[in-house]
Symmetry: C2
């Protein structure tokens, strides 16, 4: 199909597309607002801390952390520097690969994300998880993973 | 349920939630990149022009345009000012309600969005519409509208 002969969306396709793009425009602000208000963190900062907290040694290579948070390495570096300045994360050279950098959650960072998690999970339930029938949520998640696969340059882990 | 006694997500719920938040982090940049590269427009700018182009008189009240693009009125005002400075949109007082402002697509704005639309639709097909089985896309869209309804303060039109 050439761009000069576009295949326009059907009414059903258009509805799904507009709903998805509506989420892209509206949901990030809602997530940021709840976390900023209740925990002083942006959603992306929360995700960085939460992914580190799930590791047994509270440590991830920056490249792995970028994948888990869907962020580019440059965006992640910026956010980790800010978290580091607040004492929530520290960075050090990876001992196994000295070209790589590890991000490590500090005790203070662990306290912060532990305090933030219940409110964030409750918000996720209110907006999405408890608002949707389980079988619909499963389909929704499966489609979202398909789209992430299409976006490429990133591996599900 | 109190925040002090959080109901954590199940594995399935967590997977769907992480996929959704992955889309929030990754998809906007992909949409912006294609449109910036091929049409010199952000995704939000494109949506503003496209929603005006769908009106018979190429005109919408700013409040209606904010709803259709999911943007806040302040964000929309900022973007419309930028589009106005490029000659793609103009604003004038609504004749039926002089407290309201209309946004009107100019002929140049119409040309710009007409030129951008085929590439954007093709990109939407590649990333989402053609990547997903029709029945799954329908469920996905229905769930996304449910979430938008939960976000409130905005009416589907």
């Amino acid at each position: 199909m050439s761009v000069s002969d576009p295949q326009w969306l059907s009414a059903d396709e258009r509805s799904a597309w507009l709903a998805l793009t509506g989420l892209l425009v509206r949901l990030p602000g809602a997530l940021d607002n709840q976390l900023e208000r209740d925990a002083g963190l942006s959603f992306f900062e929360y995700m960085v801390l939460a992914m580190l907290a799930e590791q047994q040694d509270q440590t991830l290579r920056m490249s792995a952390l970028a994948e888990l948070t869907n962020g580019s390495l440059s965006r992640l570096s910026h956010v980790v520097r800010r978290l580091e300045s607040q004492g929530l994360v520290r960075r050090e050279t990876c001992q196994e690969d000295r070209r790589a950098t590890n991000a490590i959650l500090t005790a203070g960072g662990r306290d912060r994300v532990d305090a933030a998690a219940p409110g964030h999970v409750q918000h996720a339930r209110e907006l999405v998880v408890d608002a949707v029938a389980p079988e619909d949520l499963a389909t929704f998640g499966r489609v979202a993973w398909q789209i992430l696969d299409r976006l490429g340059g990133w591996q599900r882990t």
